[in-house]
């Protein structure tokens, strides 16, 4: 990118930041109690919240990452898109029940039936914060890598006196500080508006790019696919599954089986993880009632689906128009494919100036995407920390509302700072696997507890706690001892493909994605905890929860005093 293009990206991005900060100040003045801070006053319409949900979900990993995987490995990137979308059907089935039964967090739903609220809430807060921090880390490290790629600062070069290495650190810190600012001052109101603006920008620019790509091929999809396959590294299998996941290894049956299982495991985590992602769940509570919550999920399904269909055009378009060589030279992971495509399309229309303008715009949208997603995550985890851990565990459910909200603002600073430090430390590591890990953890820890507490009459506190900890630590341990952390080397160059450098190898779990083992394990722990624990289930609480989740009677209020009395 030329100097002019870089400056234009910066200007556009600063514009986005300024307008969202203005919204944050407006939101600060209109945020008074817990309902405002955690749930935006429950005043968003179904459509608004749906757009924000889509905004929360479409991370830079899906915008740049999926387009990149399609551009380099072909069809397999599309498998990600499908998993990400089908997952929303499960969310649609849960959304009303959870909206009716909870107030602000997933733990509200879980602790409803619990005899010992504190234990469940602590477990839920730990799981929420862990999942969010892993996801955050992936996004923030990605932001650092993106800026040096986007501004085209290669190692050794400087831009306004900033070297590539310090540009990375600087980006992470700036993104982190702005994200803390949004959450701390604006709470859910500001974060929701940031998501809405970002989602509109992202979908708008994706539509523009898609139309431009298709127009280059006379709106003939088959023609585009043909050109994409030809320009790729491996034309033969480019349009079929198997380029990246579930590879067949000739002569090595064990490795082939492992690859296929790994692929199934990823698919399972993608489809089951979404309904347990904390920043998605906390968005169920920002609308006035369950019907509006359902409407918002329907909106999200429409937007997310349209977006992922368009990533097909972006990925195959980049493969055809930019070519395998140019993409993998800039970034072997392909994360710049969409940006290079934007430059190429703009150049075709208006020379190098046109290329710079379109690239600058898409680059600024990518930054906005990262910023919006990370603030959603920080909000979800600080809500859980303040409402569940501080409010119900430390203060035994009797804090003043202002105290709890004050603590939530403090928690946002705490988690944000922690994430910045971690991301700066990990800035040069390959942490892309953390997104899939966050999905696997959400599916293994949160989903069993949510499902069983809504649908299983016998479920108890012990079961919920065992399910959450079992799923969380199960998936964590499996990943630590998997090839993504140690022991995977490139057979050609001998360089390490894992987190640790080559030579360190302590992996014994063959799969890179833990889901296929950890999700059943999470469910098994929850069931075992219920059946083996001495605790007897409280029937009335189950009935009360059923009535409430189906009808919404008494939603927004804490469980009745009668229920609390029984639980004591």
């Amino acid at each position: 990118m030329t100097g002019g293009g870089r400056s234009l990206t910066m200007v556009l991005f600063v514009l986005f930041i300024l307008s969202t900060l203005a919204i944050t100040f407006w939101a600060r003045r209109n945020t008074r109690g817990a309902d405002d801070f955690y749930a935006g006053g429950r005043a968003f319409s179904g459509a608004q919240n749906g757009v924000a949900l889509a905004g929360d979900y479409m991370s830079a990993a899906s915008f740049l990452g999926i387009a990149g995987i399609i551009a380099l490995s072909g069809y397999d990137g599309f498998l990600y898109s499908i998993g990400f979308l089908v997952a929303w059907l499960l969310t649609l089935l849960f959304v009303e029940l959870m909206r009716n039964a909870g107030r602000f967090t997933m733990a509200d739903v879980l602790s409803y039936r619990a005899k010992k609220q504190g234990k469940v809430r602590t477990a839920a807060a730990i799981s929420t914060v862990t999942v969010s921090v892993f996801y955050l880390l992936a996004q923030m490290v990605g932001a650092g890598a993106l800026v040096s790629l986007l501004l085209g600062i290669h190692p050794g070069e400087t831009f306004h006196g900033v070297s590539a290495a310090s540009a990375r650190t600087l980006t992470i810190v700036v993104v982190g500080v702005i994200m803390i600012f949004y959450v701390m001052f604006g709470g859910m109101k500001a974060t929701t508006w940031v998501q809405i603006i970002k989602a509109v920008l992202l979908i708008g620019s994706t539509i523009v790019l898609t139309v431009l790509v298709l127009s280059r091929f006379g709106f003939n999809v088959s023609h585009m696919l043909g050109d994409a396959a030809e320009a790729s590294a491996k034309p033969a299998g480019f349009l079929e599954p198997g380029g990246k996941y579930g590879k067949d290894v000739a002569g090595d049956t064990w490795q082939t089986v492992v690859n296929k299982l790994d692929f199934m495991s990823l698919a399972l985590a993608l489809v089951l993880g979404t309904a347990g992602l904390p920043h998605i769940v906390s968005r169920f509570f920002t609308v006035p009632d369950a019907r509006a919550a359902r409407t918002s999920v329907n909106w999200a399904i429409g937007l997310v689906g349209a977006f992922y269909l368009m990533t097909l055009a972006l990925g195959f378009g980049a493969a055809a128009l930019v070519g395998h060589k140019a993409i993998s030279e800039q970034d072997p992971g392909g994360n710049t494919a969409a940006l290079q495509l934007a430059y190429e399309l703009g150049r075709h229309l208006g020379g190098s100036v046109g290329g710079d303008i379109l690239l600058a715009f898409v680059g600024a949208v990518a930054f906005a995407t990262i910023l919006a997603v990370v603030s959603g995550l920080v909000l979800a985890s600080s809500t859980s920390l303040a409402h569940d851990f501080f409010g119900h565990v430390l203060m035994l459910g009797r804090p003043r509302e202002s105290q709890e909200v004050g603590f939530a603002r403090f928690a946002a600073v705490l988690i944000g700072t922690f994430a910045i430090i971690l991301a700066v430390v990990a800035r040069n590591l390959n942490v892309a696997f953390l997104v899939a890990l966050a999905f696997a953890m959400a599916a293994s820890a949160n989903l069993p507890a949510i499902t069983l507490s809504l649908f299983w009459r016998r479920f108890t506190t012990t079961g919920a706690v065992a399910g959450i900890y079992g799923g969380l630590f199960g998936s964590f341990v499996l990943v630590v001892f998997s090839p993504v952390v140690s022991g995977k080397v490139d057979p050609v160059t001998g360089k390490s493909l894992s987190l640790f450098p080559a030579g360190i190898d302590f992996h014994w779990f063959p799969l890179e994605n833990p889901g296929i083992v950890s999700i059943p394990f999470g469910f098994a722990c929850a069931v075992a905890g219920t059946l083996l624990g001495k605790e007897r289930p409280v029937q009335e609480n189950y009935e009360e929860l059923s009535v409430r989740s189906l009808t919404g009677i008494g939603a927004h209020r804490p469980p009745s005093r009668a229920a609390r009395h029984r639980s004591a």
Partner: protein
């Protein structure tokens, strides 16, 4: 509900299974460069949209009225209870209502307004 979940998860995993194990089938061309894999992939999108639409229609016509009916019934019962309680307070000696409630203890739980989540 269980049938719906089984259906879309089943269809998703049929697709994933075909992608993993039936690559030759998935590679078969349909029109031009568009092959079975792409068609099935896009069909996943179509089925997701259709199911979401169908589920929403189903809840609008069947579940929403049912839940509204339950809610009105519950609210009516609560209003009735409060009216009776007010009546009771008006006719009884001050303090007696509380004493009676206490003596009846946990047996009265179901009629307790607290059960509907009312703050005292």
């Amino acid at each position: 509900m269980v049938a719906v979940v089984a259906m879309f998860l089943g269809w998703y995993f049929v697709y994933i299974g075909l992608s993993a194990f039936a690559r030759d089938f998935m590679a078969r061309p349909v029109i031009g460069n568009i092959n079975v894999a792409l068609v099935f992939g896009v069909l996943q999108f179509v089925s997701t949209f259709l199911l979401a639409w169908y589920y929403s229609r189903y809840s609008r016509t069947w579940l929403d009225p049912l839940s509204a009916q339950l809610r009105t019934e519950a609210e009516w019962r609560q209003a009735e209870y409060e009216r009776a309680a007010a009546e009771h307070r008006r006719t009884q000696v001050p303090g007696q209502a509380q004493r009676i409630a206490r003596s009846q203890g946990r047996g009265e739980r179901r009629l307790d307004p607290q059960w509907w989540g009312e703050k005292s």
